[in-house]
């Protein structure tokens, strides 16, 4: 708990920084656009339509799609101007959130200005105002409460949606929620939700105070609200600057992690190992989407992360066939990564985390099922749950086609919830990860893949072309991690987090400390 709370100032500041920057940009863009629209009624349908369509894009998707778009833009910019932009982290989150804030502010600006009584406008003309003076002295002041209502709506939305910037690599209060869900730490989830809700209330209150202050011309209220907002902005900006300066001294090595416990643990292990061997500063960026992590690595926005040979083989190399020998897959994946993307394979860590089908021991025993082949006759009466990507992955297609698997129903759900769902018999079969500590803890049976459809999933640490170029010493220092973690050890480390409530960082520190003690490392 105290370890979680220690993270709060950082997450809160990052969240606030994103929210304020997005709202400021969103307002700066929407207000003039809204005014322009009231002067060009023909454009209204189009402009509001586009803003409306953006709003209908699911927020997580809108943020995630910024990553490949920015990576593309960055590649182009590098070719043209020699300068790239980061494709993960603050920038994609900021762009996504800004786009999201546009609609409510834009719509209310248009509605507010449209709502001004025509008789009042005629009076404004009658006393000799120019169009500009009418806007400044009459239309905007009268539309102000409606515009502020739009800004308040945007504020509450953006604070909420900013929790989704975690998967694109921008730290936020969402880190509590994403990692809390994965590591079954409900306290962390709760802390994240409550902090976001409080932040939304505070910001909403400040904007409201600003509106009332302006309306009633109470300078003290306006000053206090503006002062509080300015203080928040300056505070977060100063913090960002401080971090920038602090990290400027030595290049910070950024290690990515996807959205599950094992990834949090291995990313912390890699970070701790770098610190131990090279003394370089490190930073972990956790809860990245699966393809976000790879795109970010190629673009150099993160330096290192751990992926799995089978994932790259099937998802990125688009293979549907599986060569029987894991060593061949590893060799081909490494060559493909190097040739196609300049990505270096630093080390195979020594364990495999394969997709596997799992069911309760009790059911498996009762029905006499030990392999996927034996599951097939019973599948028609069963419900299967998979993580978000499973049913759209080539492995599932291969399973379904080769075995002729047909379930009564398929459900996609969060990986962290699948295990509980199968343990409590709400679903019959799940797509499990073979190193997950919950398989043993919850009494699950992993079914044998008797026809060898699922490719090998050796965990490999891969490095960005940029890191290989700029810091070859880091790569060299990490090569000894090859074979350092076997499957049992990994399951054990995962269980430390999932079952015993340790933090991934603490588990990783303990692991690396043992490595540092000669004679104890190969325990």
């Amino acid at each position: 708990m105290s370890e979680q709370l220690a993270l709060l100032p950082g997450y809160l500041a990052a969240h606030l920084e994103l929210t304020l920057a997005a709202l400021l940009l969103g307002t700066a863009a929407s207000l003039p656009l809204g005014i322009w629209v009231t002067r060009h009624p023909r454009a209204e349908t189009f402009v509001l339509g586009v803003a409306g369509v953006i709003q209908t894009i699911p927020s997580l998707a809108l943020l995630a799609v910024m990553v490949p778009l920015l990576a593309g833009a960055s590649a182009l910019a590098t070719r043209v101007a020699g300068v790239g932009v980061p494709s993960i982290g603050f920038l994609p989150a900021l762009i996504g959130l800004t786009l999201y804030s546009v609609l409510p502010i834009l719509r209310n600006t248009v509605a507010g200005i449209r709502g001004v009584d025509p008789a009042v406008l005629e009076a404004a003309r009658g006393v000799g105002m120019t169009a500009r003076e009418q806007l400044r002295l009459v239309e905007l002041p009268l539309a102000w409460p409606v515009i502020v209502a739009g800004i308040r709506t945007a504020t509450v939305w953006v604070v909420g949606i900013a929790t989704l910037s975690t998967p694109v690599g921008a730290p936020s209060l969402g880190n509590y929620i994403f990692s809390g869900l994965q590591t079954r730490n409900l306290t962390a989830v709760l802390v994240g939700c409550l902090a976001a809700a409080l932040l939304a209330l505070v910001l909403d209150g400040l904007v409201l105070a600003l509106e009332i202050g302006v309306r009633d011309r109470r300078r003290a209220v306006v000053g206090a609200a503006l002062g509080a907002l300015a203080l928040l902005s300056v505070g977060t900006a100063a913090r960002a600057l401080h971090e920038h300066i602090a990290s400027g001294a030595a290049r910070t090595i950024v290690i990515g992690a996807k959205t599950f416990t094992e990834q949090y643990v291995v990313s912390e292990i890699v970070a701790a190992e770098i610190t131990r061997t090279t003394g370089r500063p490190t930073r972990t960026v956790s809860s990245l989407g699966s393809t976000v992590a790879f795109d970010a690595l190629v673009a150099g926005s993160i330096d290192l992360y751990v992926d799995y040979t089978g994932t790259i083989w099937a998802t990125l190399m688009k293979h549907t066939d599986v060569p029987p020998d894991p060593a061949i897959v590893l060799a081909e994946v490494s060559r493909w990564l190097a040739d196609t993307h300049g990505v270096a394979t630093v080390a195979a860590l020594g364990f495999e985390n394969a997709y596997a089908l799992a069911m309760r021991d009790e059911t498996a025993g009762r029905l006499g099922i030990t392999s996927i082949g034996e599951l097939v006759p019973h599948a028609a009466t069963m419900v299967m749950a998979g993580d978000y990507e499973f049913f759209s992955r080539p492995e599932w297609t291969a399973l379904a086609e080769t075995y002729g698997l047909r379930f009564r129903e398929r459900r996609s759900m969060d990986a962290s919830l699948m295990y509980g769902a199968v343990a409590s018999a709400q679903v019959d079969v799940i797509s499990a990860f073979s190193t997950d500590g919950r398989i043993a803890a919850l009494g699950l049976t992993v079914l044998a893949d008797d026809r060898h459809v699922i490719p090998p999933y050796d965990a490999i640490l891969i490095a960005s072309p940029r890191l290989a170029r700029e810091a070859p010493d880091v790569l060299a220092a990490l090569r000894p991690l090859a074979g350092a973690i076997d499957a049992d050890r990994m399951r054990h480390l995962n269980a430390e987090v999932d079952q015993h409530g340790e933090s991934p960082a603490a588990v990783a520190r303990a692991f690396v400390a043992r490595r540092a003690t000669p004679g104890d490392g190969a325990e």
Binding site: D117, A119, V120, E122, A123, A124, R125, G126, V127, G128, M129, T130, E133, L137, V138, P141, L142
Partner: protein
Amino acid sequence: MLRLVELVKRYGDAVVVAGVSLTVAPGERVVLLGGSGSGKTTTIKMVNRLLEPDAGRVEIDGVDAATIAPHELRRRIGYCFQQVGLLPHLTVGENVGITPRLLGWDAGRIAARVDELLRMVELDPATFHDRRPAALSGGQQQRVGVARALAAGPRIVLLDEPFGALDPLTRDRLQESFVTIARELALTVVFVTHDVLEAIRVADRIAVMRAGRVEQVGTPAELLANPASEYVRDFLTIPLRQAAALHTLTGNAAFAPTGAP
């Protein structure tokens, strides 16, 4: 010198103003008198280009108003709206001082001018200066509208039924003080009303309007003596018939009409 030359305004097929010509001499007060829909309001809105004429023109001291930027034209011409048209988010003082502010007067000069005008329309500055229009009665709002029209010291003033919402006693006093001020400042005034007695009280000359045309122009005495049409005569003698009705009711000779037709 204000000249209206063959002004025409159409809305689709409906001709609202059908060729109005009128000359107002400097310092002269001309009243447009007529029933609802006779084109009075449309006519004065074409003077300061709140409406653009479909044909004809307005000349101010020989200059075609169409060649003057609308906002500059309107800052030179005081205008008092029929619907009052106070800006709801500004105080009474700010409403009165708006045109001087647009003209860039300094704050002290505006403040002094606003207080002077509020006293003129019988609104105590200490009480009313900082109120919002919504906190005023209809009559008080109208008086603020008149004060606003006069604020920037215009040579030409257009007033569209400025005293319509006032009680008879206040209206009587304000008509009188308005005529006094207009005379002192030698204002060129176009004043719209449908009230015959108000027209007679305010006007140097009356232009009787009917169906978008000027039926007859002349001093009140001329119109009464030589009405050009049945309509003009009927319209101008309404007060006499009302007084006769009153007389019949009271039987009191003090109310007897003196010049019954």
